[in-house]
């Protein structure tokens, strides 16, 4: 951006050069594991055992990816992570949508239809953001058992929704606090009710915070491992759990290239989401604070 006035001396230029060098080194340092992973996933196994970790693939191949997707052994079965990849989607999509919808309604009710104790309710909900996952494992397992949802996808969806509501409510509550109450008053006088006001007045201006909520929830749930391990069955495992099994399956030599390809597959959706929607995420997080 050219909206900064800066000095233009030799000294200033050298300083700037050093600054850039430091920044680029730091960036490389952080990107290195990813780069190594990517390179390794395209190398045949022979090249990995022989060559250096940092060398470019001499003979790039997609075979490790194909194997990771369709043939690699995850525990007992050897079907790759592909099926689990879709499993993850089947869990993540409903969980994200439901928790976002509930968070939006909660935020709306807590800000625009205040009731006695609504602040307390909100404060209690905030607790949910700070509870460590491990604490709820046992009670949650018990509850899922009672509900007959053990080891099912719906069970996992439920767990993620329950855990996500704290965050989504926080997002939407903070966003709706910034929307003038008079809008809701005006709509009430116009004759609209609770849901109509939400649907016609609040929701159309909520796009920024919906994006934030979806991205946040998507990455959280997609990357979840603990709940996946604890509450899923063989056929309902999310991809993160499958990846772990794949890497830990010890038959013969470790196929690093396949492991890396599987890891890339597991990480790709969240990476993509950040690349495609990251700027909306930042924009949405600051949306409440700027008028316009």
């Amino acid at each position: 951006m050219a909206n900064v006035i800066r000095r233009r001396g030799i000294k200033a230029r050298v300083g700037r050069g050093v600054l850039y060098a430091v920044l680029i080194t730091a960036a490389l340092f952080y990107a290195l594991p990813l780069i190594v992973m990517l390179m390794t996933s395209f190398k045949p196994l022979s090249e990995i055992t022989a060559g250096s970790l940092l060398s470019l693939p001499q003979d790039p191949t997609l075979a490790p990816w194909a194997k990771a997707w369709g043939e690699a052994c995850t525990g007992m079965r050897c079907e790759g992570v592909g099926g689990y990849f879709w499993n993850s989607f089947a869990i993540v999509i409903p969980a994200v949508l439901i928790s976002t919808a509930i968070g939006a309604l909660n935020g709306y009710a807590l800000t625009k239809w205040r009731f006695k104790g609504s602040e307390l309710v909100f404060a209690l909900m905030l607790f949910g953001c700070f509870i460590p996952f491990q604490v709820v494992l046992l009670p949650m397992a018990q509850t899922l058992g009672w509900l007959g949802l053990s080891s099912s996808r719906s069970g996992l969806v439920l767990v993620h929704v329950v855990f996500g509501i704290a965050f989504t409510t926080l997002f939407f509550r903070n966003f709706y606090v910034g929307i003038p109450d008079e809008l809701v008053s005006a709509a009430k006088l116009d004759g609209a009710g609770f849901f109509r006001i939400f649907w016609r007045i609040l929701l159309p201006v909520s796009a920024p915070i919906i994006v934030v909520s979806i991205i946040w929830q998507f990455t959280q749930i997609w990357n979840d491992f603990l709940f996946g391990v604890a509450f899923s069955g063989h056929s309902t495992q999310p991809v993160t759990v499958a990846l772990n099994n794949l890497v830990n399956t010890s038959t013969g030599v470790s196929e690093y290239n396949v492991n890396m390809a599987a890891a890339m597959i597991a990480a790709l959706p969240t990476l993509l989401v950040y690349v495609l929607a990251g700027k909306y995420f930042v924009r949405g997080l600051t949306a409440g604070s700027v008028k316009g």
């Binding site: 003038p180 009430k188 006088l189 116009d190 004759g191 609209a192 201006v205």
Partner: protein, 373 residues
């Protein structure tokens, strides 16, 4: 029949008592203006009328029907908010027709209503825009249009013009007055603007600390204030208050104003104005209230017919406003403001002879601040 009746309404937020026993009543088609210092409960009263906040006790009647426990939608009220509160995601057209849509008015009728108010407010060319694409004055008109599209029993306006610049404000004020004359609707209107209050109102209610101090026509409130607060609140520049001692007996009272370093100023009280009752208070300290326009420049040519009492004082500040000149001059213990014609050629430091119109002066009890004459 009264279009709106408010009976002993109280409103508490937790322990804070915001409305303390407010009662008022306005006839159908009347224009009521609520004025009062910031935080006195005007918006709270409006919200109570609209049904946006439940009242702690008391009753609210619209057209004789008790609506105290009805929802805003059931009360048939339209409100224009200070912030306009236009729905940001909707076009002007949708904003105006939303209320009708919610009330299940058929589409054709809605279209007609939109056309009608758009013509009335001259916003036809803006119907396709979103609120963010409008100027302040245009938004204000759309907000008004949204209220006018429906034909509710009562309109509520909470400082609708306060965000506009001075010129636009005067224009909109005139338009609102015309609208009211044309449509004959019942309106409750909150404002901080003295001129708005005086020009628009059929009735003015002056509020303070959750009470209504005085409810009356603009003329009554301005010329016959019930106490020092109302007298000081209405009018700009505000009324001058001068400490004086009441003297004399039946039929002939006078006010003695102690002046430092000079002889006391003595102003005779017009005998027609309740001098008998005042006689009982002889010797007491009272507060004399004089509006700036109760002073006038002494004109030699008119001396023979001029009314009022003559006094001279040394002018300390001269403030021309264009239409007239405001003078600050010492009187009694403090300074007063006098309004004289724009032709008055006086500079600060000079002595000026002024007449005081005691027929329009008012007197207050020094302790209770209530009006005594």
């Amino acid at each position: 029949m009264a279009a709106l009746d408010i009976e002993q309404v109280r409103k508490e937020f937790g322990r804070e008592r915001v409305l303390k026993d407010v009662s008022l009543s306005i006839e159908s088609g009347q224009f009521l203006i609520l004025v009062g210092p910031s935080g006195c409960g005007k918006s709270t009263l409006m919200n109570a009328i609209a049904g946006l906040e439940p009242v702690t006790s008391g009753r609210i009647l619209i057209d004789g029907e008790d609506v105290t426990h009805r929802t805003p939608a059931e009360r048939d009220i339209a409100m224009v908010f200070q912030s306009y509160a236009l729905y940001p995601s909707m076009t002007v057209r949708q904003n105006i027709s939303f209320g009708l849509e919610m009330r299940k008015v058929p589409k054709a009728e809605r279209e007609q209503a939109v056309e009608r108010v758009a013509d009335l407010l001259q916003i036809s060319h803006l119907l396709k825009r979103k609120p963010a694409q409008l100027s302040g004055g245009q938004r204000q008109r759309v907000a008004m249009g949204r209220a006018l599209a429906r034909e509710p029993k009562v309109y509520l306006f909470d400082e609708p013009l306060s965000n506009l610049d001075a010129k636009l404000r005067v224009d909109m004020r005139t338009e609102i007055k015309k609208l009211h004359q044309r449509l004959g609707t019942t309106i409750v209107y909150v404002t901080h603007d003295q001129v708005e209050a005086m020009t628009l109102a059929d009735k003015i209610a002056v509020m303070r600390d959750g009470h209504i101090l005085q409810l009356g026509s603009p003329d009554e409130v301005y010329n016959n204030p019930v106490d020092m607060f109302v007298a000081g609140f209405m009018g700009s520049p505000s009324m001058n208050f001068i400490k004086a001692t009441l003297e004399g007996g039946k039929g002939a009272c006078q006010l003695r104003i102690a002046t430092p370093e000079e002889a006391d100023l003595v102003l005779p009280w017009p005998s027609a104005r309740g001098a008998d009752e005042l006689a009982e208070r002889a010797g007491q300290t009272v507060i004399l209230g004089l509006r700036p326009e109760h002073f006038s420049e002494e004109d030699e040519r008119l001396t023979s017919q001029a009314e009022g009492t003559l006094l001279t004082a040394c002018v300390s500040v001269v403030e021309p406003t264009g239409a007239d000149i405001l003078l600050r001059l010492p009187l009694g213990q403090g300074e007063v403001t006098a309004r004289v014609g724009p032709k008055c050629a006086i500079t600060a430091g000079e002595r000026l002879a002024l007449r005081v119109d005691m027929d329009r002066a008012v007197l207050f009890d020094a302790d209770s601040e209530h009006r005594i004459a």
